[in-house]
Symmetry: C2
Subunit: 101 residues, 2 copies
Amino acid sequence: MTAHPQEDHYKYKKVISIGVVSELTGLSQRQIRYYEERKLVFPDRSKGIRKYSFADVEQLMKIANQREEGVSTWEIRQEMTKELRERMLKGQMNAHFRRRS
Amino acid sequence: MTAHPQEDHYKYKKVISIGVVSELTGLSQRQIRYYEERKLVFPDRSKGIRKYSFADVEQLMKIANQREEGVSTWEIRQEMTKELRERMLKGQMNAHFRRRS
DNA sequence: CGTGTAAGGAATTCTGACACG
DNA sequence: CGTGTAAGGAATTCTGACACG
């Protein structure tokens, strides 16, 4: 469908293993796995091996900043779901008012 | 320097291991390593482990197409260096004529 | 020339647990 | 709660070589 059938979106393609993610983010593998346990990141799996996207890496860096400020994983999670709700609501609005101004 | 200090260029960051590259391109690991031997791709190394970028993946897909058409690795290499020469020449021209129209 | 494969070793990743606090 | 670490195992990757052609 797109002009570049291949490009898709490099940012969202889950291809990076945890060792590289650790280097890119400065977080330990333990931390990265723990944040997954707390449902803050959602890597894909290939035979048990986690694969992350650049978007995941960005997300993890945001989490690292929040954590440094003392924000708990639970609070970060709340913030995430809240933002998700807002975005979904906005989507509903768009669907409703589209082409009706 | 950029607005998004992090984003840099996902396309050029060497973070993908050969197994994933193999899946993305449909090439065998053997083929991918051989094309490196023939100087058609240049992965980074981390403790001996090859790391590729999305740009490398694109390059490999182009190579795969050429190969299917019967183009030899040597010919592909010639084409690459030729294109490189042209791009460098263009760079020289730009440097020379910049702000002189 | 281009690619498959078996071989042995090194580096990576995984999970569940114990530790500290 | 959040993170470190040692433990044992599974999956990945690496190189050099032999094979075929």
